[in-house]
């Protein structure tokens, strides 16, 4: 069986078929996402270290990994949220502009697109600002006392300390900075890294992968495309109520009430093994 980067050929074909199906959706083709450049929270070395860690969590293989998706930009945008006004915590709404309005007269997508309200963050209330300043900068930076938020270490400190810790471990074990190690040695350093910090990086890495691109990651929707996930769908959605026929029309390539067209059901052998183990551990049942 021919192999493509560790995935067997049948799996690769399934992948590309899925990617092609996803690419046929109206909002993934030629998606233009004008995203303002993130503020900088890291030095170049810190950013390179972060990217190297993230690449071990979500590597590049047949499709984009964390680095191509811009997960580092996601994190830096969060850590510099308060350099923006309003602070970059919650993207606006209701629509991103990636999908058009539905046309009730034809039961298809119209050519009218709403403006991109995701591109600007929403103002924070007084108490929301207290909570997020505490989360990002630490409760010591919140004037007038943080009330219920006291005692919180800010994410900016967590990252500076955590990244330095990873480098310290790398030098201790192998005499070099983390970014200069081969991936097998990087994995060994991470296995010994501070568990709480690594878990935070994992959490932010997957957030940066699979959030809307306006938050800094998921650049050009690469992560959503890779998993056949349409992401935000409003205002078009998946059904249009056609008043003239008093009936719904569903998006044929992405139906609500029917199976996906042309789908090949089932899992790879590795995934089946994995799921079997999880289900057995949960005391569940396998039917076939």
């Amino acid at each position: 069986m021919s192999r493509v980067d560790g995935i067997d050929r049948r799996g690769f074909l399934k992948l590309t078929a899925a990617a092609a199906a996803a690419a046929a959706l109206p909002w993934s083709v030629g998606a233009r996402c004008e995203v303002a450049p993130a503020g900088r929270a890291f030095s170049p070395h810190q950013r390179a270290t972060f990217d190297a860690i993230a690449a071990r969590i979500v590597p590049t293989d047949v499709d984009a990994g964390a680095v191509e998706a811009g997960v580092g930009d996601y994190v830096e945008r969060l850590l510099t949220a308060f350099e923006h006004d309003p602070p970059w915590v919650f993207a606006g709404g209701p629509f991103s502009g990636r999908t058009p309005f539905g046309d009730k007269l034809t039961g298809t997508a119209s050519t009218r697109f709403p403006e991109d309200r995701f591109a600007q963050p929403l103002p924070l209330s007084r108490t929301a600002e207290i909570a997020w300043r505490a989360r990002i900068h630490g409760s010591a930076h919140v004037s007038g006392g943080a009330g219920g938020a006291s005692g919180t270490q800010g994410l900016r400190d967590v990252y500076i300390i955590g990244l330095a810790g990873v480098d310290a471990r790398a030098r201790e074990l192998f005499g070099r900075a983390f970014v200069d190690l081969a991936v097998e040695r990087q994995d060994r350093v991470l296995a010994e890294a501070d568990d709480a910090f690594l878990r935070q990086v994992v959490e932010h890495t997957v957030e940066g992968m699979y959030a809307a691109p306006e938050y800094g990651g998921n650049r050009d929707l690469v992560a959503w495309r890779a998993i056949s996930y349409e992401g935000d769908s409003q205002p078009l959605g998946y059904s249009i109520f056609d008043a003239s026929r008093d009936a719904y029309v569903e998006i044929r390539s992405a139906p609500v009430s029917r199976p996906n067209p042309g789908e090949v059901a089932g899992f790879s052998a590795e995934t089946l093994t994995f799921v079997s183990a999880i289900v057995a551990g949960a005391g569940g049942q396998r039917f076939f």
Partner: protein, 570 residues
């Protein structure tokens, strides 16, 4: 004609200075009460602790409001956009009072804290309770350790109010499809919307086993209705505010109607800190304005509708050192109930694409049970749902199951725990217990400096045994539907059911209840409750429709005590 407010922190008529009633909370109950009172000529001042995310809610133009909600998992689910923030609005929890002062601090069954209240994030399933739900004490008799009580109102008495909610909110459903439903004298406002594939697959399995699946009644537009568009099945429904107002959320129905009468003023980012009172009368309401300063407002009548935990907390905050306002019974805060949710997960060979559709379209009430029948213990409605969140899925693989690198990517592509996942949820009825309650935490404070609510909660054998009984049947249902794998998810402790009831139970005996059959506190002349705190029992159905119907009845009785139904205006 109503003019939109131009004052920050205020919606509605900023020119009103004298009010007939103050309502604490702008959620399901508060919105319903506001609409009844204002459409009957009363001037109402509503306080909302949270922010407003419906700009233009008070703007009469047909394209308003334009919500800031969006199909954004990071915003709504991960960063908790409308949820009470666990840092600033923390709560505490302990299973019982032998566990010390508290065992957990943070989010304890928190609801959205925002204009529109808890219902903002609901997918708006709106079934009615069954007639038997209103007198379970009479039907079940004594159950050791449980504190069931009959409601002082019957299904028949509540029916006109159910009908009114269903009309104003716009509830879709299939007439006659639920063989266990109590008789309805009205048809649904519209037929069911687009069925989700996962609902159809589950329904086939249910039918094979002899059950009776049907499209669940929901306050979601299956067609344009009362000026709001039809749902587009965008997939970000349960847990999300609606970007296009096709969900008949209390905010864009009852509350908006109240604001547009010109007789309603809503102050938001304005939590109520305590009620000031003398003898049997509440004299004024003290609130915290958006800048953090304390202010007061007064009206002849005050109605609590801030959700049960916050209502009880407010009564306790209003009588420091005493037993709590309105608490001669000792029951303020007690008989707190959640729903014991049983979640059965199935993994199917085909993709179920639960991220398209309004979260849940089908279910069944076969497991609600029959009071007193040991072969059919009281469980709850079953919802046939699926999964829709990619970040949550990734965290499950990466953090819970320790998958990294290529393995993580493979799992995300193949998506066994999202795109192939079906979730059957039973809304199991919780038995009321005196010991399950809300009080004020002795040490922990919130961002306003107020003592936070402490929840003491342990499940009763009543709901634990219902779970034992029905969980295997849910597994069988998944198998009959074609699942390759099925398992029961471990329960959350504390509960995160987002269904909260009890704490100010209504009843005819002032020694055994806090409020009377009209929702008025027994101890107070001018203080009412109009939300789920009134519920003596929790039933096995989504509570919000019944919350609204009961709130309508409380407000209608204030307006027209002899014939409350006459106060209902379309």
């Amino acid at each position: 004609m109503a003019q939109p407010s131009r004052v920050p922190g205020v919606l509605g008529n900023t020119g009103l200075h004298d009010f007939d009633a103050i309502i604490v909370g702008s959620g399901a109950g508060g919105s319903a009460a506001a609409r009844v009172l204002t459409t009957n000529g009363r001037r109402v001042l509503v306080f909302e602790a949270g922010d407003n995310n419906f700009p233009g809610l008070d703007d009469p133009r047909p394209d308003q409001p334009v919500p800031v909600f969006s199909n954004d998992e990071l915003k709504m689910s991960v960063r908790g956009f409308v949820t009470a923030d666990p840092l600033t609005d923390r709560r505490t929890f302990r299973p019982d009072d032998r566990s010390g002062d508290r065992t957990q601090v943070g989010d304890v069954n928190g609801l959205p804290k925002t204009v529109g209240g808890g219902a903002v994030h609901a997918d708006m399933k709106y079934p009615r309770f069954q007639a038997t739900d209103f007198h379970l004490r009479s039907l079940l008799g004594d159950i050791a350790g449980a504190n069931f009580a009959d409601w002082p109102v019957s299904y028949a008495e509540l029916e006109p109010f159910y009908k009114h909610v269903e009309t104003i909110a716009g509830v879709q459903g299939e007439d006659g499809a639920d063989p266990f439903a109590s008789p309805r004298r009205t048809r649904y406002a519209m037929g069911p919307g687009v069925p989700m594939y996962c609902g159809l697959v589950a329904s086939e399995g249910a039918r094979k086993l002899g059950y009776h699946p049907f499209p669940l009644p929901s306050a979601v537009n299956s067609r344009p209705y009362r000026g709001r568009p039809a749902c587009v099945d965008c997939g970000f429904c349960s847990g999300y505010g609606c970007p296009n107002n096709s969900k008949g959320s209390p905010a864009v129905t009852f509350l908006r109607d109240a604001l547009l009468t010109g007789r309603c003023q809503l102050r938001y980012n304005a939590p109520v800190a305590r009620l000031l009172w003398s003898g049997r009368r509440v004299t004024s309401v003290e609130y915290i304005d958006p800048s953090g300063a304390r202010q007061q407002a007064t009206a002849p009548i005050v109605i609590l509708a801030a959700s049960p935990i916050e209502d009880a907390r407010l009564c306790l905050l209003s009588d420091p050192g005493g037993g709590g306002l309105g608490n001669s019974s000792g029951l303020v805060g007690r008989n707190l109930m959640f729903h014991y949710q049983v979640l059965a997960a199935g993994i199917f060979p085909q993709r179920l694409h639960g991220h398209r559709g309004r979260s849940v379209t089908h279910g069944m009430t076969d497991f609600r049970g029959v009071p007193g029948d040991p072969a059919r213990p009281l469980g709850g409605i079953i919802e046939f749902g699926a999964a829709n969140e990619a970040i949550f899925e990734a965290k499950t693989y990466a953090l819970l199951l320790n998958q990294r690198g290529r393995a993580l990517k493979r799992l995300m592509r193949e998506s066994p725990l999202r795109d192939h996942l079906m979730a059957l949820t039973m809304q199991g009825e919780d038995a009321p217990q005196l010991t399950n309650r809300v009080d004020l935490d002795p040490a922990v404070r919130d961002v306003y400096g107020l003592p936070v609510p402490r929840i003491t909660y342990t499940n009763h054998a009543f709901e634990l045994s219902a779970r034992e009984f029905y969980a295997p049947k849910l597994i069988d249902l998944l198998g009959a539907a074609g699942a390759q794998f099925a398992f029961i998810a471990p329960p959350d402790t504390p509960s995160q059911s987002r269904h909260i009831m009890g704490t100010l139970r209504m009843g005819t005996d002032p020694r055994a209840s806090v409020c009377d059959a009209s929702g008025k506190f027994h101890d107070m002349e001018n203080l009412y409750c109009a939300d789920g705190a009134l519920f003596p029992t929790s039933s096995g159905y989504n509570p919000t429709l019944t919350i609204q119907a009961l709130a309508l009845r409380v407000a209608a009785a204030i307006v027209a005590a002899d014939a409350p139904e006459r106060a209902l205006r379309e």
